[in-house]
Amino acid sequence: MADVICVNGLTKRFGDFVAVNNITFSVKEGEIFGFLGANGAGKTTAMRMLCGLSFPSEGTGTVAGFDIAKQSEKIKKHIGYMSQKFSLYEDLTVMENIQLYAGIYGVEKETMKRESTALLKKLDFENKKDTLVSSLPLGWKQKLAFSAAIFHHPKIVFLDEPTGGVDPATRRQFWEMIYETAANGITIFVTTHYMDEAEYCNRVSIMVDGKIEALNTPKNLKEQFHVDSMSKVFDQLARRAKRGE
């Protein structure tokens, strides 16, 4: 399968500080790619470059087939993004939030009507469509935020710690949604702090001090480090970090 993200020697400097140091990796279409690292390891900066929010100091890369340094506007059309804050408007209703994101991504009105009805049905949200988001439970907000992020059928969806503050049962349900989305051909690029979630990914990269120190399937990584869980892999690597939080 083709690579949807392909990055070569990507570096970001802020003055003397090298936030992201010469990282190289690629992500295949339909893959669930876990992007791990301790706080301050440079995950967010790397992700911002991939999303076209920040220019790389050095290195090249393509996302969805577009150059991250020159074609960030085109990249933005073909990616979805969900942050740990769920990024919904609390004072808008469920339907209004969907309409807003559909509108921003230029989804046609007819398509929007048809697909939003289907979506609400799938999520079992039909009787909640005129409810203000502020009154929804956290798990529902999370599902809705994810659905809004992929409403325009992006090639890749970036999830920045999407399960923060959510209980384990809801997290499991959320990962079911992620699997379903990946099965439909949307590539998932996810950062997380939960090591059990890292086990769910097809491949995982672990960043330490701005560099990618490990990149493989969870199974291979565990073998490589002679441990029985991703959590222990992460501990071993994170101990090498010299940067503070």
Binding site: G52, M82, S87, L88, Y89, E96, Q99, L100, G103
Partner: protein, 368 residues
């Protein structure tokens, strides 16, 4: 374009669902206009007036009656001897006393020695000067009616004409000031707070990742506030004209054009604040301390900037509101043509361009 409309719709929902915002945006301007127009004014009413006239003639009686009929004055009585003046003022039985010379009545038409003396309690100097002006004006009016012979009465060698605001209504002065203040409040403060709120909630990040251009996000954020500012402009002008009798003598086209320019200036100020502030509270504080206080104290809205110490006068020159108020006073109250307010227009234009330039620069840095 659909993108843009979807975004504006969302902004309207935000405002519509926030009852506090509605209150601030639509009710407060009206309340302020009415408060400043009626309750808080520097007009002086019910001035207790006493007259010392050596000869208690029919003319003096009529004079006292005329004064008493004017709502500005309360006639408290005739005095007999000069000592009583001091007594009346000390005990606050009178705010003002008028002393006529012995042969006033004969000489008022002949123009000899007919000096009238007005004594005012000047504990509060502003009130005192307003009171003495009122009295002088009133006497002049009464006496010119009395003569009716086409001869100027010689009450005072100086004739004072109060141009543009003959009744000296303070609301004439306040209305342009309040317009200046409200536009800043709505456009600068509310816009900046609403943008910073999205920074805090993390939605701005999502918007920046979306294909929407950062600048069109900002413009779309401004549109509803621009609309609200226009509604307020209209409602203030209607209230000012029909309720407070502010004349709006100048060209309505230019009054509106300059107000729109000022609204744009205020909106870009709001945008600038939003690039500087990271939290809603910071945005509020910047708006309140950096904008509101100087505007209320230094823009000439309440205290004339000409009478400030030089350093404050210089500071007042960089406050856009000062120039807006000045232009509005010229156009609304004086009714002069636009060429007399061109200086203000140019300064406002320059300031707007300057603020927009800095904002764009700041905005780009922030995105990177």
């Amino acid at each position: 374009m659909n993108q843009f409309l979807a975004f504006i719709k969302k902004e309207f929902f935000h405002i519509y669902r926030d009852k506090r915002a509605i209150l601030i945006l639509l009710v407060m301007p009206i309340a302020q206009i009415l408060l400043f127009g009626f309750a808080i004014s520097t007009d002086v009413k019910n001035i207790k007036t006493a007259i010392l006239a050596p000869k208690h003639t029919e003319m003096m009686e009529r004079l006292a009656e005329e004064i008493d009929q004017n709502p500005r004055f309360d006639f408290v009585g005739f005095l007999q001897i000069e000592n009583e003046i001091d007594n009346y003022l000390r005990t606050n039985k009178a705010d003002v006393t008028i002393t006529f010379p012995a042969n006033f009545e004969n000489e008022v038409y002949s123009g000899l020695d007919n000096r009238v003396c007005i004594s005012v309690n000047a504990t509060d100097p502003n009130t005192a000067s307003i009171e003495s002006n009122y009295i002088a004006q009133e006497l002049y009016n009464i006496l010119s009616e009395k003569t009716m012979k086409g001869i100027e009465p010689q009450v005072s060698p100086i004739n004072v004409h109060l141009m543009y605001n003959p009744q000296m209504k303070s609301s004439f002065n306040f209305v342009p000031g309040i317009m200046g203040l409200i536009m800043i409040l709505i456009c600068a403060m509310m816009t900046s707070v609403s943008i910073v709120r999205e920074k805090e909630s993390g939605t701005l990040e999502v918007l920046l990742v979306s294909p929407m251009k950062p600048f069109s996000i900002m413009i779309a954020k401004m549109v509803p506030y621009f609309g609200l500012a226009c509604i307020n402009l209209v409602s203030i002008m209607i209230l000012a004209y029909y309720v407070l009798d502010v004349p709006l003598t100048g060209s309505l086209f230019w009054i509106i054009a300059i107000s729109l320019l000022y609204i744009i200036l205020a909106l870009s100020l709001g945008l600038l604040i939003s690039t500087l502030a990271e939290t809603q509270i910071a945005a509020m504080l910047i708006s309140a301390i950096v904008l509101m206080m100087p505007i209320i104290l230094l823009s000439g809205m309440i205290f004339p900037s000409e009478s400030m110490p030089p350093i404050l006068e210089y500071i007042s020159k960089i406050i856009p509101t000062r120039w807006y108020i000045s232009a509005m006073r010229k156009l609304m109250i004086q009714g002069v043509s636009i060429q007399y307010a061109l200086k203000e227009v140019y300064i406002l234009l320059g300031m707007t361009a300057f603020i927009i330039a800095i904002t764009i620069k700041k905005f780009k840095i922030r995105l990177e």
